[in-house]
């Protein structure tokens, strides 16, 4: 039986997993050991068949109190699509205001994820109201 060793990226524990590889007509994964939780084996099976990743970056904002809004994928994308999706993100620019959670790019490069904002960007010059926070 062939095995493959992987470092799980689901959480900071970074478990060292060992997965049994079943080589038949299609690639299949048998037992996965070494995981502290039940998410590890699920991740390992996906990782061996088709690795998926989330990405985070930023998008240019016009007229905002910050020049960039940080963004992320709201679900994982195939790892080989990372640079393709990054190219779509780099081409994009938007106008303030932006709310956290706003969908800024739906389905970039035909993937099933959305690119969402991970912070607020206010229109430049407008003070944060009613927060009790003073400058």
């Amino acid at each position: 039986m062939k095995t493959r060793k992987l470092i799980c990226i689901v959480c900071p524990n970074g478990c060292e997993l060992t997965a049994e590889i079943i080589t038949g007509e299609t690639l299949a994964v048998g037992e996965v050991t070494g995981s502290l939780c039940d998410k590890g084996p699920v991740w390992a099976k996906q990782e061996i068949v088709s690795p998926m990743r989330t990405i985070a970056s930023s998008i240019l904002v016009k007229g905002g109190d910050y020049p960039l809004v940080s963004v992320r994928t709201d679900s994982a994308i195939p790892r080989e699509m990372i640079q393709t999706v990054m190219a779509v993100i780099k081409d994009k620019s938007i106008s303030a205001p932006v709310e956290i959670g706003d969908v800024l790019i739906p389905n970039p490069a035909g993937t099933s994820c959305n690119i969402i904002a991970t912070r607020h960007v206010n229109v430049a010059g407008i003070r944060d109201q009613g927060s009790g926070i003073r400058n």
């Binding site: 992987l6 470092i7 799980c8 990226i9 689901v10 959480c11 900071p12 970074g14 060292e16 502290l36 990743r53 989330t54 990405i55 985070a56 970056s57 930023s58 240019l60 910050y66 020049p67 960039l68 940080s70 963004v71 992320r72 790892r79 990372i82 640079q83 990054m86 956290i100 991970t118 912070r119 607020h120 927060s131 009790g132 926070i133 003073r134 400058n135």
Partner: protein, 413 residues
Amino acid sequence: MDRMKRDLVVIGGGPAGISAAIAAKKAGCPDVLLIERDKMLGGILNQCIHDGFGLHRFGETLTGPEYAQRHIDEFKRLSIEAMLSTIVLSMGPDRKLAVSSKKGFTEITAGAIILAMGCRERTAGAISLPGTRPAGIYTAGAAQNMINLQNIMVGERAVILGSGDIGMIMARRMTLEGAKVEAVFELLPYPSGLQRNIQQCLNDFDIPLNLSTTVTEVHGKNRLTGVTVAQVDAHYQPIESTKRHIPCDTLLLSIGLIPENELTRQAGVSMAPATSGALVDDTLMTAIEGIFSCGNVLHVHDLVDYVSEEAEQAGTNAARYLREGLPKVEKTVLIKPVDGVRYAMPQKVSGTSDFTISLRVTNPGKNQYLSVRANGRKIARRKKIRLHPAEMERIKVKAEKLDGAKTLEVGLE
């Protein structure tokens, strides 16, 4: 000059300060003031736009700004006051603070203070980086700030010295932004960041991680043109025959973090050499009455979830101190790191209630037990499949098990 009296002043508006302020307010402290030198709350989380935060606290993986915003929203809901763009210039043992803001100078006398100033990065000077001093050498966090907050790309061809998490995160970030990252070099024989980051930040992008290797010379007059790297021997001395030149225009340093304790020292708070933070008891109070410490200024954490949790303890305990004064402690139990444990925090406990010891090990190891011993008896034990200096460990101890011990030993077996 303005003068004011406040019940509780929290210094620092990063994850520790925000959570400490929230917890103090919730624990019944009516008057909480948070002072932050930046123009926004959130601290370093604002530039940590990658995900992986909040798994322990929220059961989901968030980016830094999202993790910060959840706490800022609660901070605002509780109408806690924050002074932004404001810096604390000095702190005395009498809990008097000299504070400078755009409005001028203010002297604040606080009933209690929570130190939550976080940490800063070690720089090229700290490791006596040999060679010239051209442009293009940044700490990883400074580059992260420029790329993620200021929209300034730092370079096109980078070498990273140090395998801390920020360095690896920046290796990925620069690659995503189109730069070529040549390699990460680590002086130690093991990586100093999390395993998952080696996988998702380096392996995914075919960025080599070279252990027991360091930068021996920096080249370039105006702009960095390259670095010389070499493998090191068991005494960390470069091996001449392994020297090679790598052309690059950028060198990022991810070589460690230093708790930012200038105010703490100025007030005369006793420090713990192993953590570079204050000596604290299990209420996170320092040796000066009414001054508490939490988060990365107390000891450098690797996960923000634990920073928030620790800060909540400090906030709750500060509120209790303001309400009830010092607890009547009959004895003090010292906590001593032994056998493979580099530090243990808190350094002393009252022994009247259960507590958690945070610690780091000296060397990587497998299948060992963390153990706490009192008078030679094991009173707490935890099996670990893997131990690593880069990963903070925690172990809970029950007060009832102390049984009159004056010293607890925290070690490996």
